[in-house]
Symmetry: none
Subunit: 487 residues, 2 copies
């Protein structure tokens, strides 16, 4: 069908953007930023043009008319393409390329502002991003508030009010778990021996772990960037990145476990359908479930470290006399930190709640950009009991707003909930649970491939969760998991 | 003017191709090759489409009609764009895409044939490339022989007969110099002390040298690939690559000096004119002059090593007792080798003469593809006194014919001649010569920027040489340089 050829062409353009984007983070010389922004804008404009073209529209219409309903994957692809087409064609080309330019400059300004802790240098860019977000929301339309329209980009079928209600319900439990976990950790503060963990050895350890849990290096690689991420540059080209702390090898390792979780999801999507909804990740909340599953449910488990701690001790001899139990307490250490990406499992979602509330208020016009630092610090004090020492450690810490990713944050917490529910469902199979308990993850990965990855975007996130786990999305498994591990 | 906007858009596409190509050589996971080929083909098609479009044609025509001749750079840009447009539009799209397919298969077959030393497996592909080269030459037209039309792609305004006459004239001198240099080197075979030269230390040394000679790391970087190259991904984004030999740090260093020469030329082109002829390198023969100048005239000079040998000795302690004179003899060691890319300065051009004569005879129909191995070996015996042990070390060694690059080889020798003439002209300025003699290359680079780089492609190579050096292109300086250094 012609529409599928066009979608594949679109994926070629988008994945070329991906290559340029990856290079920008991992390799780009400082003076080359402007030209890279132009290249990315050109590609973004071509991708958008194609996806809203008359040719696309009529090919999609023809395919829909010709669809006999026999092929459920084809049907799901057409429905999702229709949904995406309607959303894409509501945005003028001019806006799309403006967004790219604004984002590229905002990112740059954010880096500088963050270095100097100077929110005012970033504020005009955030203002522009907020304006663009509102413009887009108005063009897309929404049920009850602009945030709905943005959230739809990341978590289709999910409404802001529902997320807000969910967060409201679990907030007291999360606060209680966090407070108790932090208290418990403080009373048991055992640090692993100091001493250098040489980067080349960390690289080796991470690669062995990533390979052992199932990341395919024939179709991917791991590089170094300032902030860890995972990006897919083609059906067999998944790039993970991490960063290294010479004093703590677990920092790069948990980065790799997290990103490898994203990467294995990407590697598990049907490669022949690359670019089609059936060959694409369904949502950020599902994507994050995969990263969190490997990072937290596997990577902070006793069984995992019973397997890998001896290897770490071989590579890093200073660990030799440090008991596994103390090391486990270390990787499960809970503490209140101003920085989201440094936050542990027990306190992480409080950071999300703060961001969700602030960006929702900005979008509703209840909070001016200039007032974000004050609002951030007030909310932070309420949740964590102290105030970040500056905006670098406060409202300037995340790149999301610089990239125009308003509406993105709640998917992290949705990912945590999904991860727990999916992991619990998988463990109900005795042979998977037995294998997990001896750090053999092949059966678990096979189950994820079959129940999650293989579906691509043919089901909505909530449908996928129900099909995989046999129950509606819920916070029950997540809260049990946190309570069991931290209380 | 609209035509310049179109040219800049074309440059965005081409430089995006550049990013994907660089990544393919430096980073691509093995399983991702097919998808990358599709991405590159898509970009190539867009670039070609644009450059032969009606819009381009009419914008160019309008700009020509409106040109009042006052702005010489604009005039030169329009003339060169016209020249390129005529050449591009003389090739039917069908031929261009056939060339891509033939080249992709030929490259693959060449890799396999080279592995097995089996010329017959490559011959049908060379036959096809030869056919395509003739087709293109016929479409482009030529003065006296098809080779002219191909050479024009790489060295505009240069004729085959002139190159042949030049090579005929210098051949006896080159043979004599090579023979004597090889004999002298054999009698003075002093190898530097063995022992590992750790790659991270080579990386550090190379970066210090590259920075000191003027390569701008704010607008470029150095990475590792199987074969060294330089590619420009934007006006401030020049990527060099090299490869490392743990037993010989000079291998990666001379790779970097050579590629940095290319890179500094690219960094010296007018950045605001990126993609326009005035912001682009003029020809391969001029490009190669810049790499050869830094690699050979600077990098193998006594003054350079008086400055850098102590640094090398600090980094690589095994060198400490090895005298500078012996080290200099090592970096100027001359020997006959069957492999062009391993050939030294004193013997290199003989390899080019051999290739030029063979491909010219093929194009004239005087040499059948099947007879290439015999012709190669006969010519090789005549020039070097022995025969390569197999075709892998003989007529299968270079990728150029597999890629369809017939007519490319002579630009290497033109580059050598140009380098010597340019270097001699620069040294005529006492302050430049004095600085060079204490390894301070800032005045030399400033002169190159002003006399060569700043012109981009606004002059033909021969005009540029005359304007920079105050005399017609000639071999005099090159032969003096070789005689002085090697006899």
């Amino acid at each position: 069908m012609e529409i599928f050829d066009l979608v594949r062409e679109h994926a070629l353009i988008r994945s070329s953007q991906g290559v340029l984007g990856w290079d920008q983070e991992a390799k780009l010389p400082p003076a080359a930023v402007d030209h890279r922004a132009k290249q990315l804008a050109w590609l973004a404009a071509r991708a958008h043009e194609l996806a809203v073209s008359d040719r696309w529209k009529s090919a999609l219409g023809q395919a829909e008319a010709a669809d006999d309903g026999c092929d459920t994957v084809r049907g799901a692809n057409l429905r999702q393409l229709r949904r995406e087409f309607e959303r894409a064609s509501q945005l003028p080309v001019e806006l799309v390329s403006r967004q790219t330019t604004v984002s590229s400059h905002a990112k740059h300004a954010w880096v500088e502002a963050r270095k100097r802790g100077d929110f005012s240098a970033f504020a005009p860019h955030l203002e522009k991003q907020l304006g663009l977000a509102r413009e887009k929301a108005d063009l897309w339309g929404y049920e009850s508030e602009p945030y709905d329209a943005l959230l739809e980009s990341y978590e289709r079928g999910t409404r802001t009010a529902a997320v807000a209600a969910l967060l409201e319900v679990i907030k007291p439990a999360l606060r209680e778990i966090a407070a108790q976990a932090v208290e418990k950790s403080a009373s048991r503060a055992v640090k692993p021996p100091a001493g250098s963990f040489p980067v080349p050895l960390q690289v080796e350890f991470n690669a062995r772990v990533a390979e052992a849990i199932g990341f395919d290096f024939q179709a991917g690689r791991i590089d170094t960037t300032a902030h860890p991420f995972c990006t897919t540059l083609g059906p067999c080209d998944v790039r993970l990145t991490t960063r290294y702390d010479e004093n703590d090898f677990t920092s790069s390792l948990f980065g790799v476990l997290h990103e490898a979780g994203h990467g294995m999801y990407e590697q598990g999507l049907p490669a022949d359908d690359f670019g089609l909804p059936s060959g694409s990740a369904v949502s950020l909340g599902i994507h994050e479930s995969q990263s969190r599953l490997w990072e937290n449910h596997i990577g902070r488990s006793r069984a995992f470290w019973e397997r890998w701690y001896p290897v770490a001790c071989d590579l890093f001899p200073q660990l030799a006399g440090f008991p596994l139990d103390d090391f486990l307490a270390h990787v499960r250490h809970a503490a209140f930190t101003p920085i989201r990406v440094e936050a542990d499992e027990a306190t992480y979602d409080l950071h999300i709640i703060l961001r969700f509330e602030i960006e929702r208020r900005m979008l509703r016009g209840e909070l001016a950009v200039a007032d974000v630092p004050v609002a951030w610090n007030e909310s932070f004090r309420d949740l964590f009991g102290f105030v970040p020492e500056n905006d670098t450690a406060g409202c300037l810490q995340d790149i999301h707003w610089a990239m125009g990713g308003l509406g993105y944050f709640p998917t992290y917490t949705l990912g945590n909930l999904n991860a727990a529910q999916i992991f619990a469902a998988a463990r109900k199979h005795p042979e998977i649970a037995r294998a997990i308990d001896i750090a053999d993850y092949a059966p678990l990965l096979a189950w994820l491939r079959e129940r999650i990855h293989a579906f691509g975007g043919t089901l909505d996130p909530a449908e996928l969760m129900e099909s995989a786990c046999g129950g509606k999305p819920s916070a029950v498994d997540y809260l049990s998991h946190l309570r069991e591990r931290y209380l």
